[in-house]
């Protein structure tokens, strides 16, 4: 029982919250369940083709290629590639996780993968364009320029936070999950 709770924290907390909501106002519960359904469908819509791409990536792109382009000694080139892959993308951050994982599995450097994830989360071009139309060029670009600088610094120093074996563990984990 305790083990089940520990392994399914989100599920247990969610069910508890739903129970409380039902007590307070049952219409909230309905809204919550409708939201869940909508969000799940949205996610599936965008995540299905991404897994197709991951599968193709896995069989077509050689490990050596990824190591050369984004691996340990890829330097500035690796970071630039991580930036472009993240910026020319579409979909919520959760869709980027499996892609990032497959990059790690093929030997990409952790700092590059982290940079890719951060750029994807905030600086995807389709979203940046939309942001500009809504918030104005100046305000949107100020926000994005600051975030880009922070992400670059973070990517450059990120590996200092890990030991060699922790970094190697990313690749093993990616291997196991895919």
């Amino acid at each position: 029982m305790i083990k089940f709770i520990r392994n399914n924290k989100f599920l247990v907390i969610s069910l508890l919250l739903l129970a409380i909501m039902t007590g307070v106002d049952i219409s909230l519960t309905y809204t919550a369940l409708e939201n869940t359904r909508d969000q799940l469908l949205d996610m599936l819509l965008i995540v299905l083709p991404i897994f197709l791409l991951i599968g193709l990536f896995d069989v077509w792109v050689e490990r050596d290629t990824v190591i050369r382009l984004m691996g340990q000694s890829s330097g500035l080139k690796g970071m630039a590639l991580a930036f472009f892959l993240g910026a020319f993308s579409a979909g919520p951050t959760i869709a980027a996780f499996p892609l990032a994982m497959v990059m790690l599995k093929k030997g990409a450097r952790y700092s590059n993968v982290l940079f890719f994830l951060m750029v994807w989360s905030s600086l995807k071009l389709p979203i940046v364009f939309f942001q500009v139309t809504q918030l104005g060029f100046e305000f949107a670009m100020l926000i994005n320029a600051i975030m880009l600088l922070v992400f670059i610094v973070a990517a450059l120093i990120s590996e200092k936070f890990y030991t060699r074996s922790e970094l190697d563990a990313f690749e093993e984990k990616a291997e196991e999950l895919s």
Binding site: L56, W60, L114
Partner: protein, 161 residues
């Protein structure tokens, strides 16, 4: 269908066709691999979305507007940063909401903090992110983004304040 979905479907379908023309066996293998990793990861994602659904029922756009108003000040900034970190909202809802808030009376730092953390900090994703990478990595990415958001708020407050 959103622009995002169209782009990604176009890419996936186009590349699958090219791949199948060049090598059918390889394409099949890729398809199976993709399906397998999808099935492995679904159990992590589904409970997460139940939680997201509950959050969204409580934290609605009008609730957010009421938190981040013009007069909300420093507390509004903190609320903006925390609500943005916890909530999950499509950009096509979030940015127009930000625009509306700005038009109805400034509150630039609050709105900036909310929008930046909304995009980059995902507390709800933490469990999934830890499973893909590690707790430390999830923590690092989210913390970096939160620090970035705080810097943005500071600079925006100076420029627009």
């Amino acid at each position: 269908m959103s622009l995002e979905a169209i782009i990604i479907y176009g890419l996936a379908i186009g590349l699958t066709i090219v791949s199948a023309v060049v090598d059918r066996d390889k394409t099949k293998k890729g398809f199976i691999k993709g399906t397998k990793s999808f099935l492995k990861l679904m159990p992590v994602l589904i409970p997460l979305f139940l939680f997201v659904g509950i959050l969204l029922a409580v934290i609605t756009p009008s609730f957010i507007s009421s938190l981040l108003g013009e007069e909300s000040g420093f507390v509004g900034v903190l609320l903006g940063l925390s609500v943005g970190s916890v909530t999950f909202m499509p950009p096509f809802v979030a940015f127009p909401l930000g625009k509306e808030l700005l038009q109805s009376g400034g509150a630039y730092p609050q709105v900036a903090g909310f929008l930046v953390t909304l995009m980059s900090v995902g507390v709800v994703y933490f469990a999934a992110e830890s499973k893909f990478f590690s707790k430390k990595s999830a923590f690092l990415r989210n913390t970096v983004s939160l620090i970035g958001a705080i810097i943005v708020v500071g600079i925006v407050a100076v420029i627009y304040g």
